[in-house]
Structures are given as structure tokens and as C-alpha cells.
Amino acid sequence: MKNYLIMGLLAIGLLSPTSSKAQTLPTGKSIADKTYAKDEGISVRRKLTMELKDKRGKIRIRETTSIRKYFGEEKRMAIYYLTPKSVKGTAFLTFDYPDASLDDDQWLYMPALRKTRRISAANRGDYFLGTDLTYEEIKLETRISRDDYTYKTIGTERIDGQQCYVLEGTPINDKIAKELGYSKVKLWVDASIWMLRKADSWDVAGNHLKTTAIKEIKKVQGIWTYHLIAVKNHKTAHETLFRISDIDYQTSLNDDAFTKEALVNGL
């Protein structure tokens, strides 16, 4: 409670940001850079289960196998659906380019059509495959954007027992705000392993939109890895749980696995 009060006072500028404590807090920019520097492994193969829940509590479960590989700063990811049966074999491929002005490329292979379909470039703020995370958030995972926000580090707080820096970010301009769908974000970044642990966001009208919690962070093959992301949309009451398991950073993934053609054959 005390923390909230201090944060609240800080937020409205009642406590001087030049107080001794604030001076010791790192800037948002340096925190963002640190999250980018965090080791994510070149490639990873994992089981990803998406559990989607609507406001009436009805649940859709989508089990997938997902592979991801960095090509320099470019990130490629493929998701192969295992269940439900009706979409088994459906595969999604995305190329995320580091340059935000370049539209990402996406394809979906539909086994019933035996064809791969290109998906029009999604806006960064569009929802990813019916979940509550946006394409931008899927791309960042536990990083925080270096370019989109003006940050203010407003304090520290413990999340899941770990010390986190608390940042408030506002999009640098209205265009970015519209693109992302947010007018404000509040981020909790782990102060020692530099992973995002929690995020709150507000829509462009200023309504509290979402709370995202990144949990069960454990070392896998020497790399700090999350095993669960829980997102709740406060406006639609829709929820998503991303469960990650069977994580393997060491399987060598051939570059060819990230092509339209590879989608057809599955993993």
C-alpha cells in the first residue's frame, strides 16, 4: 500500500524526481537496452499452448509446437497447430523485421486448402491469432520497446518476490499511440535478469485495457525462460494463458524450416 502511495505521489509529481532515491534509478532507455541484451538463445523449440477464455468462461485450447530463430536482429517464428483436430497441421509463419517501418511478413498454411495464404501485414497493435497479446508484444516477448515510448522510471517494486523497476511509458507521438493501441503503459522489469514481469496498458481513450503477467521464470539450459504468460483484457473480459513447455534451446533449427514451403510438411 505504501509503495502505491509513493508511486502515486511520484506519478503526479508531488515527490520530486530528483530525490535521492529517484537519482539512483536507471533510465527507461538503459533498462530497455538491457532487456534487449538479455540472452534469448539463437533458436528455440517449444510447446506452446494457448488457452483462450471469453467473458462467459468458455475456453478454447490451442496446442502448438513453435520454433523461433534469430537471423541477426530479424526474428522468424513458426507455429504448428496440433489441436483442435479441425486445425491440425495449420501452420503460421512470421518474419519480424527490426525496422519498425517495414511491414512484417506472415503466412498461414491451411491443410484443408493445401495452400499457403499470405496474411496482410498486421498492424503492430492487432491481436495475435485471437489471443489478447498484440503482434508487437509477441515480437518483443520479455523485452520492452526501445523506440516507441518515453519512459519514466518511477520506483522499484517486488513482483513474484523479485526486485523490479517500475516504468511508465507514453508513446512518443499520437501516430505510434494509435498503431500500438495504447495511450500509456506501466511496466515492471526484473532488475537483475532484465525480463519484463508485468505490464499494464491503457487504451487510446485512457481506459484500463490489459494486465499481462509473465510468470514461472526459470533457467532452462542456462537461459532465463518464462513458462506462463497470463493476459487479461479488462474491457472485453477476455483472457489468454500462454503455457510454454518442452523448451529446447539446443536443437539445431535449419534455416529452411522458416520458409513457406516448410510449413506444408509440418515439423
Binding site: D54, L108, A112, L113, R117, S120, Y127, L129, A205
Partner: protein, 776 residues
């Protein structure tokens, strides 16, 4: 009889001895209960006409909940030169954005060209994207939007009119504004008022707007009709007694009856419905009658016995009057309770219960408060009643009526028989119908908006069909989708069904988009898995909640929405019946089930009961009045005679309704029971007085008639004028059902009055029933 009179004398001696306490308590109680009135909430929704636990309503609400359907505010933007230009589309965008900030509007449930997504096929895929982005909107782009809508059947006639001059913004309200639709309506009107300088015209309608408008409308109406009714009644009282107390005392009774009835409604948490608006006026007219009879008797005794003290005058008056006013009040209560007992619809049930309560209160106040209040005053005479037995102008009219009856009893009976004949014919041709928009006068903005939207688009009256399948994802099965499609195709052939939407429309559109936009690909694919994969593909660029209104989250339930351009029962009922027949023939197997619901179905269901409720209520009222009169006068014959005038009055009204094309609707369906309960009073007073004059005083029949007409007849004339004029005040109501109700009751009361003072004495004269002991 003597014994009874002694008891009554004792009783009223007691009342007049404790007059201060009684008066203080009466006033305090009245004020205390009336203080609840400001807490009253209004419910003008159509759902209010069914009990909350009615299975049809419960099912409909579940469906609404499942698919997130609400009663929307619908804004129509009309540009006679077409809406597909930069400026008009900018306006659609601006309004859609501004609506999000209007209190009571759900910012996530605004549907317009600016918020909806188009599904388009690209050279190697599918894109789900807004019809236009405000930043790159040009006149050229606006033309592309026009083409996109032309290509998207779902939105044609739905978001945009077929002639391209009109587009809609549909805004749903938050549940928390359930009984505050009028506030949202007002905010929206204020918002639209800022755009009056534009070339576009704006119209606001839709289910939510109608509810909101109605709340405001009945408020204004009540402010007008209630004071007017009180004024009319006061003028009648001035004519009757030409004395201040003769005006003030009955008015206090009126205040008590209305204040306590409405206060009790509020205290019990009963909502104020549209028809409740008629209740105060009805009570004003009824409550004043007791006061008229008591004061009439008082001035008559005062004229005959100038030496009486005030206490003697009051006690003697009450001893004479307690019986007839109790009987008439109870018969009126019976009329109201007959409505309560026969009606399935809560607004009418409450109208009956609280109307009965109001009349009961008027009776109690007549028996206690009036004598107590009179004790504060000095004995007084009315210039209307002179000691030398001279009668005034009103008395003379009644005296002449008496002479006419004695001369022409047979003619009167023949006329009555003719009226009965016409009435039975009229009753058989009654039209049961209801249309919510008919709650407003035809030139009201909401009526114009409703008519425009219904003529330009598919309409604002919805018949929903809930489709259920047993297993998750069963709705991907092509055979199920084809059934839905066939039902839509069939329904669209029915009159007044202008369009329909379901998940099938989206599937067909996706299939077409993924097949090079070929016309023939606008169809349901044969492969269940492919359909599942379409949805996954859609989710790659669409919003997760896009199909919420059409299909549930595990693809087991679907909603088909049929749109009708009319909310008239007579048009809705056959569509519901034929849709149900179709469903019986083609659905309801072990693999797929369908059920009609939505506003149209609910309407068809409850309005259907109106006719039955009406005749049941009228029959019940007649029966209760018959039993009660027979019991009070200790003669079955007396009971039968008593109900003859009211029966004729109701039959007469059926003829009037037929001639004037008045529907038996919510408001009008209550007329019969009320008209019976009130109208029978005249007959009760007539029989009571004739019995007294003929049986107890043993006067020869001609002399008895003469006495009857000039004294009781005169009071009845004022009683009649108060009722008829009071109900006529309802005719000035701007709510057509209430004004029709007022008109019908006023006419019925007139017929009852005439019947009670002509036909009834004529019949007695001809039949000479035993209970009257007519000797000469």
C-alpha cells in the same frame, strides 16, 4: 335495518368525537407514504410487459447475454447526394469516436462504417481491415468503400441503405444505464444538435432510443394531464356546491388516493410503467365521486334541518352515505382487481393492484377523514340546495329525465337491445394489435426517425433464432451451416423481413475472398476443417471478439438475426408462426435445434394474450360485481339489474372501437374492467336509492321516481360529470394509448350513466322485481 343504522350512528359518533386525532393521522399517513414517490424508477422497456421469470423472456435474455446483444441507439446519417464522399465518411468517423465518450454508451460496442472490418481477398491471401482509415480518406477512397459495401451482402441494407443515401451508427448502451436510457437519449440529441449546420440530416431511433424517449415523454405528459384533471374536477365541484369546502375536501381525498397509491408503488419497488401514467388521472376521477355524494347528502340534510349542529349533520350524512359509497368503492376495487387477476403482464397487474389500493384509500378517507375534517367547520348550506325544496337547473334536468323514462319505458328497452346487437357484432370483429411506436404521436421526431430507418434499411425490429448443436465446433459442419442458410433464405421471403445475418454470411464472404472474389464462391465450403481454418486465418488479422454477436465461443451456438421493418404485432405474429413452422419441419433433430427468440418473438407471445386477458378481465369484473350487488341487495335480480347498464356500455364500446378503428392494445384492453368497476356505481346508487324509496319508505312508484331523480339523480349527474370529464382529460394525453383509454372509459361511463338512469328504471318499472316490494 334499524339495528344497522344504530350501529352506524354509534360508529360515526365515535369518529366525530376523535376528529382531531383522525385528521392528524390521515394527513401524516398521506404525506409519509407520498414521500416515497421521488424514489420511483421508470421502466418503459417492452420486456416490462412480461414477468421477469417468464420462460420466453428468460430464454431471450440468455440469448442476448450469450451473444452480447443489447437494445441499441441507432443514428441514421442521411445525405441525399449519397454518403460515400470524404466529408460524410469523416463525419461517420468523428461521430463514432465522439460516441465513445458519451456516458452510458459502451465504447466497445459501436458499429459503423468507421468501426467495421472489410474482408478482402488479396492475390495470395486474405485481409481483414477497416473499410477506411481516417488518415488516408479521400473522395476516391470513399468510392472504394462504396464498392466494398456493394461486395459485402452483410452490410448492404444493414449499415448502409440500398440507395446509398443513409448510413447507420449503432451504439449499444451499458447495462448500468438500464432505466436511464432517457439520459443517454438526451446526450445523443445534444451531440447531434452540434451538427445542424451540416448538409447531412440526423435521425435517432432504435429500441434504446424508444425507451429513452418514452421515459421523457410520459414525464412531460404526466405534468400536463394530472394538474389538468385536478382543475377540471375542481370546476365541477364548484358547480356542484358553490362552496370552498365542497372543493377542498374532495381534493384532499384525491391527493390521498393518488399520493398513497403511487407512494406505495415506490415503497414496494414497483416500477412506473407507461400505462401507470394513466393511474393518477383515473384515481382523481374516481376518488372525487365519494366526496361528491357525501357533500350532496350533507347539504341536502342541512337544507332540510337548518337547526342541526355540525356533529348531527355530519353523523346523519355519514349514516345515510356509508353504505352506497362502500358498495360503489368495492365494485370499483373489484374492477381493478379483475385486471390484476386476469392479466399476465406486470404493468397491468400493478395497475390493478395499486388502482384498487387507491380506491380503497379513497373509501377509508371518505369514511374517516371527511367527517373529521368537517368537524372543524361550522354548519353550512349550499346555494345549490334550498330549504324550500326548490331544485336547481341540474335537478330539473334529472327530473325531466325521470318523466321521460316513465313515459317511454319500452322504447328505451328496444334501443338497449339494438345496442347489444351491434356490440356483440363489434366484439367479434375486434382487432388485437400493438405497436410500440404508436405510443407516440405521429409527428414526434422518434416516429419520423423510426419510419426513415425502417424504410431505408432492413429495419430495427429483430427476430432472433438461436441455433444449438450438441458438440463444440459442430457449427463448422457444412450440413449445419446449410440449414442455417436455408432458414435465412426462407425467412427473407416472408413479408416485412428485409434481411438476415448469421455466421454463414461471414463464412461465405471468407470463402469468396479466398477464391479470387469469384461470385460463385460466395457459398459454404464442403469441408468442415476448412471452415475451422478460415476462422483461424481470420483471427490472424481480425479482432478476437468480431463474431461474438453471431456465434458462441466454442462454435456450438449460433444466432440468426432476422430484421423486420415494422414493430406491429399483426405483421410480427405471422412471421414468428411461419418461422416456427419451418423450424419444426427442418430443424430440431438430434444434431441441430433452433428456437425463435428476440423482441419480435417476445412481442408475438405476450400480445397474443391481450385478447384473452381482456375478455377474462371483463368477465371477471362483471361476475364479481354481480355477486357483490346480489349479496348487498340480498337479491339475485338486483344483482342482474345492476350489471345490465355496464354490460351494455362495454358492448357499445366494441362498436365504437370497430367504427373508429381502435385496436385492442395494452392501454385500451384495460378499459372494460375499469368501465365495469366504475360504471356500475350509477346502477348501485340507483338500485340502492329506489330500494330505499320503494321498499323502506313504501312510496308509490311514480312518486319514488320523482324523488329519486331530483336528489340522488342530481348527485349521480355530478358523479358522472366528474368521471366522464376526468377520463376525458386523459384524452388530452400525448400518449395515444392513454388518450384512447381515456376516451373509451369516458364513453363507457356515459353509457353506463344513461343506462342506469333510463334503462334500469325503465326495466324496474316494467318488470317490477320482487325485492323492491312495489305495491302501487
Amino acid at each position: 335495518m334499524k339495528n344497522q343504522q344504530n350501529k352506524a350512528t354509534k360508529f360515526f359518533n365515535k369518529v366525530t368525537s376523535h376528529y382531531k386525532t383522525i385528521l392528524a393521522f390521515s394527513l401524516l399517513f398521506m404525506v409519509g407514504v407520498a414521500l416515497f414517490i421521488p424514489t420511483m424508477t421508470k421502466d418503459t422497456s417492452y420486456d416490462a410487459f412480461l414477468p421477469k421469470d417468464d420462460p420466453i423472456l428468460v430464454f431471450r435474455n440468455q440469448t442476448k447475454e450469450t451473444f452480447g446483444l443489447k437494445d441499441p441507439m441507432v443514428i441514421a446519417i442521411v445525405n441525399e447526394n449519397g454518403i460515400f464522399n470524404k466529408k460524410s465518411l469523416e463525419l461517420v468517423h468523428e461521430l463514432s469516436e465522439r460516441l465513445k465518450t458519451v456516458p452510458g454508451i459502451d465504447p466497445d460496442q459501436i458499429t459503423s462504417l468507421a468501426t467495421e472490418n472489410n474482408i478482402v481477398g488479396t492475390y495470395d491471401g486474405l485481409a481483414v481491415e477497416p473499410f477506411y482509415e481516417i488518415d488516408d480518406l479521400t473522395d476516391e477512397k470513399a468510392k472504394e468503400v462504396a464498392a466494398a459495401i456493394d461486395d459485402f451482402d452483410l452490410y448492404k441494407g444493414n449499415l448502409v441503405s440500398y440507395d446509398r443515401t443513409t448510413t447507420l451508427i449503432v451504439a449499444e448502451m451499458l447495462d448500468s444505464y438500464d432505466k436511464k436510457q432517457h439520459e443517454v437519449y438526451k446526450s445523443l440529441m445534444a451531440l447531434l444538435d452540434e451538427y445542424t449546420a451540416r448538409t447531412e440530416q440526423f435521425y435517432l431511433a432504435g429500441e434504446g432510443a424508444v425507451s429513452g424517449y418514452l421515459i421523457k415523454y410520459i414525464d412531460e405528459d404526466a405534468m400536463k394531464t394530472n394538474p389538468f384533471a385536478a382543475l377540471v374536477i375542481s370546476i365541477i365541484l364548484i358547480f356542484a356546491y358553490r362552496r370552498v369546502r365542497g372543493v377542498v375536501l374532495p381534493n384532499i381525498m384525491v391527493l390521498a388516493a393518488v399520493g398513497i397509491a403511487l407512494g406505495a408503488m415506490a415503497a414496494f419497488g414497483v416500477d412506473f410503467f407507461v400505462i401507470t401514467n394513466g393511474l393518477p388521472v383515473v384515481l382523481i376521477a374516481i376518488a372525487v365521486a365519494d366526496g361528491i355524494h357525501i357533500l350532496g347528502e350533507y347539504y341536502e340534510i342541512a337544507a332540510k334541518h337548518p337547526a342541526y349542529s355540525q356533529k348531527e349533520l355530519v353523523v346523519n350524512t355519514m349514516v345515510q352515505m356509508w353504505r352506497p359509497i362502500t358498495i360503489t368503492s368495492i365494485t370499483t376495487i373489484a374492477g381493478f382487481l379483475a385486471i390484476a387477476a386476469s392479466s399476465y403482464m406486470p404493468p397491468m397487474t400493478y395497475f390493478g393492484i395499486f388502482g384498487a389500493l387507491g380506491v380503497g384509500v379513497a373509501l377509508v378517507y371518505a369514511l374517516f377523514m371527511i367527517p373529521s375534517a368537517m368537524m372543524f367547520l361550522k354548519p353550512q348550506m349550499s346555494r345549490a340546495y334550498k330549504p324550500n325544496q326548490e331544485i336547481d337547473w341540474f335537478g330539473k334536468i334529472m327530473e325531466r329525465t325521470g318523466k321521460f323514462v316513465l313515459k317511454n319505458p319500452r322504447t328505451i328497452v328496444v334501443v338497449a337491445v339494438l345496442i347489444i346487437g351491434f356490440g356483440i357484432n363489434g366484439a367479434s370483429k375486434l382487432i388485437i394489435n400493438e405497436d410500440r411506436i404508436k405510443n407516440f404521436q405521429s409527428e414526434e421526431p422518434i416516429v419520423l426517425a423510426d419510419a426513415l430507418i425502417n424504410s431505408k434499411t432492413d429495419g430495427t425490429s429483430y427476430l432472433d433464432v438461436l441455433v444449438e448443436t450438441p458438440e463444440s465446433e459442430d457449427l463448422f459442419a457444412p450440413e449445419n451451416l446449410r440449414k442455417i442458410e436455408a432458414l435465412q433464405n426462407y425467412a427473407e421471403t416472408l413479408p416485412h423481413v428485409k434481411g438476415s445475418t448469421s455466421i454463414v454470411d461471414f463464412i461465405k464472404k471468407m470463402n469468396q475472398s479466398l477464391n479470387e472474389n469469384k461470385k460463385e464462391a460466395y457459398s459454404i465450403p464442403d469441408d468442415k476443417d476448412l471452415i475451422a481454418q478460415y476462422f483461424l486465418l481470420y483471427s490472424a488479422s481480425g479482432d478476437p471478439t468480431d463474431f461474438d454477436n453471431y456465434v458462441d465461443y466454442d462454435y456450438r451456438l449460433a444466432n440468426i438475426r432476422l430484421k423486420m421493418d415494422t414493430s406491429e404485432y399483426l405483421h410480427e405474429k405471422p412471421v414468428v408462426d411461419q418461422t416456427n413452422a419451418y423450424i419444426d419441419a427442418h430443424f430440431n433433430t438430434s444434431t441441430i435445434k433452433a428456437t425463435t427468440t428476440g423482441k419480435v418473438t417476445v412481442d408475438a407471445y405476450w400480445i397474443n394474450r391481450l385478447g384473452y386477458n381482456h375478455f377474462l378481465g371483463a368477465g371477471l369484473a362483471l361476475l364479481v360485481v354481480l355477486i357483490f350487488a346480489a349479496f348487498s341487495f340480498r337479491s339475485v335480480w338486483a344483482g342482474i339489474l345492476t350489471i345490465i347498464p355496464v354490460s351494455i356500455s362495454v358492448l357499445f364500446i366494441y362498436t365504437v372501437m370497430g367504427l373508429l378503428d381502435i385496436w385492442l392494445a395494452i392501454g385500451t384492453s384495460m378499459f372494460a374492467a375499469i368501465a365495469i368497476g366504475i360504471g356500475v356505481d350509477f346502477a348501485v346508487h340507483t338500485v340502492d336509492r329506489l330500494k330505499y324509496l320503494l321498499n323502506e319508505k313504501a312510496l308509490p312508484i311514480k312518486q319514488a321516481y320523482q324523488e329519486f331523480y331530483k336528489s340522488a339523480g342530481r348527485a349521480l349527474l355530478f358523479n358522472f360529470l366528474a368521471l366522464a370529464l376526468g377520463f376525458s382529460v386523459l384524452m388530452t394525453s400525448s400518449v395515444p394509448p392513454l388518450s384512447q383509454f381515456g376516451f373509451l372509459v369516458a364513453v363507457a361511463v356515459s353509457v353506463s350513466f344513461i343506462g342506469s338512469l333510463t334503462l334500469l328504471p325503465a326495466l324496474i318499472y316494467l318488470i317490477r322485481p320482487k325485492f323492491l316490494n312495489i305495491t302501487k
